[in-house]
Amino acid sequence: MSNSSKRSNLRVMSAELSLLSRPDGSATLFQGDTCVMSAVYGPGEVRINKEQIDRATVEVIYKPRSGLPGCTEKSQERLIRNTCETVLLSSLHPRSSVSLTVQEMQNSGSLLACCINSMCLALLDSGMSMKCLVAAVHCVLDFEGAVFLDATDKEEKGAQACVTFVFDSVDKNVVMVHAVGKYSVEQFNKCMSVCRTASADIFHFYRETMTKKLKRS
């Protein structure tokens, strides 16, 4: 079984849109037992020192389940914000702000991927103009070089490398990578191709969720 992909499927996903009444868009996403809730406000009023004359200012607040945010959370925040900036057509709303809150509800592995996917769903729910969609897929490499897709927290602990990829929906190119551990270029490329294949499931899931929402009325 070694050197082959051990789990080629993502965990079961379920999402609920517009759960919160105040934000302009919100989404709760379960990927297995990992759960993240995201809320978007915008385009809204911007603080004068953050105003950009050619595009909207994107702010992301990442809230850990407990405790105060530290360096790790700031780092997560930046990854989420930059990904969000890539997909939003922020030039359509200059001198305004888009603020996003990502709340971790439960972490049982693949947290960053779940954060980005729930962010994308919240943006879809808000109906803001976007260039394309993004799908985040997480996988781990064990010491035999086998790839575990959408790893649980237990699998993450015993892993040689943890990799999160974000692909865009148009060309399936890499928007974001966060890969840590010890791995060769071949292994990296293998993870990338496995994750790219799996990203199609997420895009399909987005479409299903949005169709359910839009066909209601």
Binding site: S75, R78, R81, N82, C84, T86, G181, M192
Partner: protein
């Protein structure tokens, strides 16, 4: 001659100031950057090891104008009960208002926090220093290495400079020989005898900037960073990869990633040769 060249010179300056993107595009069409570098060329790297005499290890790195100093300070500490034979490595990156007007005094800003987290991840994931090596007496006494990285001049590409200064400083670190006295439960240091720190692997970072969604070039300056539509940071660890980070920005293809990997590995060799040379020259 003089009078004819002057208007052209002013025109060049005004184009650079008013339309930096067009200015860059004109150069990049010819596969060269305004400072004369090719796309895959790093700025001249200057390394000085052992510049802080009071620290256990130190290094000063200049990557073009970007100047970063790293000092390693060793102190005694008691280990955690769940890991009784592990020492501590505490990295911290400081981007003070001294290095650029972009940074404000006060608590560390987002970029400093992100950099600190990055350095910490590289230290932990590359396993370049085994934490067991920092143990003096299991369960009683271990070394804690404070790796303070201070940016003196910020002109882009801080991650590469930080990792390079950290590696060089760690390689030059000499820890005093310590004996643990069982009766008094106190450490006894030998002031003359010192031992070098074991460095098991060599993490080297290379940062690429994406320009106009398709062009990749290495080692961006501050201006290039602000014009770039994304960055890719690759940390190699000898023959393996240790960390690949692309925090959003323009999408890249798998082929582009592979070109980056190739360049990162060749950069790794260049850097390690440089560190070895400097270390040799100090010994002599």
């Amino acid at each position: 001659m003089y009078s004819s060249s002057k208007p052209a010179e002013t025109a060049k300056i005004s184009v650079r100031a008013a339309r930096p993107l067009e200015y860059y595009r004109k150069f990049l069409e010819k596969d060269v950057r305004p400072d004369g570098r090719e796309l895959g060329e790093f700025r001249p790297t200057i390394l000085n090891i052992g510049c802080i005499s009071t620290a256990e290890g130190s290094a000063l790195v200049k990557l073009g104008n970007t100047t970063v100093m790293c000092g390693i300070k060793a102190e005694f500490a008691t280990p955690k009960t769940e890991e009784p034979s592990n020492g501590y490595l505490v990295p911290n990156v400081e981007l003070s208002p001294l290095c650029s007007p972009m940074f404000r005094p006060g608590p560390p800003g987002e970029q400093a926090q992100v950099l600190s987290h990055f350095v910490n991840e590289v230290l932990n994931q590359s396993c370049c220093v085994r934490k067991e090596d920092l143990c003096i007496k299991t369960g009683k006494l271990v070394w804690v290495l404070y790796c303070d990285i201070l940016c003196l001049d910020y002109d882009g590409n801080a991650p590469d400079a930080c990792i390079l200064s950290l590696l060089a400083a760690l390689k030059s670190t000499m820890l005093p020989a310590v004996k643990y006295n069982e009766e008094t439960e106190k450490p006894e240091t030998d002031s003359v005898k010192t031992e070098p720190l074991h460095i098991l692997s060599n993490p080297v970072s290379s940062t690429f900037a994406i320009f106009d969604d398709h062009l990749l070039f290495v080692d961006p300056t501050v201006q290039e960073e602000s014009l770039a539509t994304g960055t890719v940071t690759i940390v190699t660890n000898d023959n393996d990869l240790c960390l690949v980070q692309k925090p959003g920005g323009s999408p890249v293809t798998a082929d582009q990633m592979n070109t980056c990997f190739e360049r990162a590995f060749s950069r790794s060799k260049e850097v390690l040769r440089l560190i070895d040379e400097i270390l040799h020259s100090i010994e002599r």
